[in-house]
């Protein structure tokens, strides 16, 4: 799936947009380096990664032109440290005030990332702010606004709207199989640029950059455990369930038909052609339906009257 970078409003400029499969920050950093090499000062409003991590990998002549507005350390402004930048400060005047602290002249504004802002402010407000930044920053000349967008996080309507506003959109995604060779994973970047003359340019380029080696694992870093360790798995396998007959003979709940009747709460399965798996399931409470036994339906926890050795749940 493709991620996209979106460039917005009057100041032209490409924006990288990425997805979980392929990150775009590296591409954003190449644009930052290019702006710095052109002699522009670069104001970075960073919200997702610490300043040191963003500055890592830049040459000294790029770093000296980089002015970092820290929105990562204290986004809600709880400690109130000077120099921090909160979400509520993202207005045209707020941003222009920060830009005025830097040197005058051509300036590139970088947002890392736009997704972070869009999750906290409505899209119309963000777009209006972006459109007003060049006008509000009167002491310097904003040449472009670069913003990183994580396409996965937003509905397609929002992404399309941003695409239509942007002058250039750069999407990054994994390259198809067979492309490229070597250690680093190849990526494809496609750029759609709208020129002032009304022409629309489409370019696709291949690039290689080293992505961080993390996989997307939604079960990682949780406060509860979704997986079983080996000992836990063995203990679970060895556990015998209630109403699981251990002697051969009449075992109503080991037959598929009875199994389907025995789980009315879960709903009857459409087909149950295979026999039940031998591994016991996690302990759910079944409502047993009498077949051979006449009389009232026994309650689940009531001890059975037959002589077969049904293990009571209380014996677990």
């Amino acid at each position: 799936m493709w991620g996209e970078t979106i460039s917005i409003s009057p100041a032209p400029g490409p924006f990288p947009a990425d997805t979980a499969e392929c990150e775009g920050r590296s591409l954003l950093k190449t644009f930052v380096a290019a702006s710095a090499h052109r002699g522009e000062s670069v104001h970075v409003f960073g919200f997702e990664i610490p300043e040191e991590e963003f500055r890592a990998g830049f040459d000294p002549d790029v770093t000296v032109r980089l002015l970092y507005q820290d929105g990562f350390t204290d986004p809600l402004r709880w400690t109130g440290e000077a120099g921090g930048f909160g979400a509520e400060e993202f207005t045209a005047l707020g941003v222009a005030g920060r830009l005025a602290r830097g040197p005058a002249g051509p300036t590139t504004v970088v947002l890392d990332s736009l997704s972070w802002l869009l999750l906290r402010q409505p899209l119309p407000a963000v777009c209006q702010t972006l459109g007003q930044i060049p006008r509000a920053a009167t002491s310097l000349r904003v040449t472009r606004i670069l913003a990183l967008l994580h396409e996965d996080l937003h509905p397609p309507g929002l992404v399309e709207t941003l695409r239509s506003l942007a002058r250039a959109v750069v999407g990054v995604g994994p390259a198809p199989e067979g492309m490229g060779s070597g250690g680093d994973a190849p990526h494809l970047a496609s750029m759609l640029q709208r020129k002032g003359t009304g022409k629309v340019l489409k370019k696709v380029g291949e690039g290689k950059w080293r992505c961080p080696d993390w996989g997307v694992d939604p079960a990682a870093n949780l406060t509860f455990n979704l997986r079983l360790s080996d000992t836990e798995r063995r203990a679970r396998d060895g556990m015998s369930l209630p109403f699981h007959f251990t002697v051969s003979g009449h075992a109503p709940f080991s037959q598929p038909a009875h199994f389907s009747q025995a789980t009315p709460l879960l709903g009857p399965p459409a087909q149950c052609p295979q026999p039940l798996p031998s591994r016991p399931c996690p302990p759910f409470f079944f409502l047993p339906v009498p077949t051979a036994v006449s009389g009232p339906t026994p309650l689940p926890l009531a001890p059975p009257t037959s002589s077969s050795s049904i293990q009571s749940p209380l014996s677990l």
């Binding site: 409003s9 009057p10 207005t91 005047l93 409505p122 899209l123 119309p124 407000a125 777009c127 209006q128 702010t129 459109g131 007003q132 006008r135 509000a136 509905p155 309507g157 929002l158 399309e160 709207t161 239509s164 506003l165 759609l192 709208r194 009304g198 629309v200 489409k202």
Partner: protein, 350 residues
């Protein structure tokens, strides 16, 4: 219809040229193509026609400064330049004709010209022609009286309002239009004072997020009726004054299709533009000379009860060198071995 009638929508027909007259209609809605390129062009044509006719202009935008929009209007073509343009086209057609294969069945028609290009005399002409490659001269602009509404500018006048939601933006625009109509006498006030003139209103990209509206990005917008309420009030203002309005709207972004139905209902003319950029039609040989299709969703029915009886529904546009032309697709049954050809130019008069 209430209010003054200021011109009938007439369709002139002659053997070769059919002129679609959209002139002097209360409101005309232009649905934007995907990248907004051609809808912007039609928007500029409308305003340029106003300048050439000596009308007053009102330009509203949330994206571009109206002064910048006016600077980029296409320059009108003089009669001589127009004649040269026509001659160029005829020679191009003739050379193309010679290179075509001879017709197998309809050989009697071999020597007839394929496309007849006839520009009627200036007195019979309705509308003007423009050169897209040139911009209007500053002198012509200066002689035009125009008014502006630029939303970020309006918001900066009231800094206590940090962000302008759609209600705020639309309300301000309506108030501005109403004020201009009243002050300049387009609604019939000051009848003895001024000579009657027409106000041409152009609103760019209405409904986009820059106006503060979220119908383009949310399936369940915060206020689904704000746009339609705006159009309803605008229609009332237009009906009671000597004004015409063109609105461009990014319909392809509006998530809720019911909104587009209502908007179509509230407009007099609705034209959709579909550009081929980025679609598979870009490489389709059938469309190789053209940049997009025009879909006429609604035409005005002034003082009429009959429905749309226009025969031509299949229109494409092309922007070649200087002229923006709309052509109708016509299947010529004699040439069933050849691909369908395009003929019969239409000139859109705005």
């Amino acid at each position: 219809l209430l209010g003054p009638t200021y011109g009938t929508g007439s369709i002139l027909e002659n053997t070769t040229l059919e002129v679609l007259d959209f002139n002097l209609l209360p409101s005309s809605l232009n649905l934007e193509d995907k990248y907004g390129i051609y809808s912007n062009l039609l928007f500029k044509y409308f305003l340029a026609e106003g300048i050439v006719c000596g009308h007053n202009l009102f330009v509203a935008s949330a994206k571009e400064d109206p002064a910048d929009i006016l600077k980029e209007l296409p320059a009108p073509l003089s009669d001589d330049a127009l004649k040269n343009q026509v001659d160029e086209k005829e020679t191009a057609i003739k050379s193309k004709q010679e290179s075509q294969e001879s017709m197998k069945i309809a050989w009697r028609y071999q020597n007839l010209p394929r496309i007849e290009v006839n520009i009627p005399a200036a007195s019979a002409r309705f509308g003007h022609y423009y050169d897209v490659s040139k911009v209007v001269s500053p002198e012509l602009l200066q002689s035009t009286k125009w008014h502006r509404f630029f939303l970020p500018e309006e918001m900066s006048l009231h800094p206590e309002i940090k962000t302008c939601n759609m209600t705020c933006g639309y309300t301000r625009l309506l108030q501005s239009i109403q004020r201009i109509i009243y002050q300049e006498g387009f609604d019939g006030s000051y009848p003895q004072k001024k000579q009657k003139n027409i106000l041409r209103i152009g609103i760019q990209s209405l409904g986009s997020v820059l106006w503060g509206d979220d119908i383009c990005c949310a399936h369940n917008p915060e206020d689904i009726y704000s746009l339609t309420k705006f159009l309803y009030v605008l229609r009332g203002l237009l009906r009671m004054s000597l004004s015409a309005c063109i609105i461009t709207m990014p319909a392809h972004l509006i998530q809720n299709k019911a909104i587009m139905e209502r908007v179509t209902n509230l407009s007099d003319t609705v034209v959709g533009l579909e550009s081929f950029i980025g679609s598979e039609r870009e490489t389709n040989p059938l469309y190789k000379d053209y940049q997009g299709l025009i879909h006429v969703h609604k035409i005005p029915q002034l003082n009429s009860l009959i429905c749309d009886v226009s025969g031509t529904k299949d229109l494409a546009f092309r922007l070649k060198r200087k002229l923006f032309t709309i052509e109708v697709r016509e299947t010529v049954f004699f040439h069933y071995l050849e691909p369908e050809r395009w003929s019969k130019s239409y000139h859109l008069v705005l």
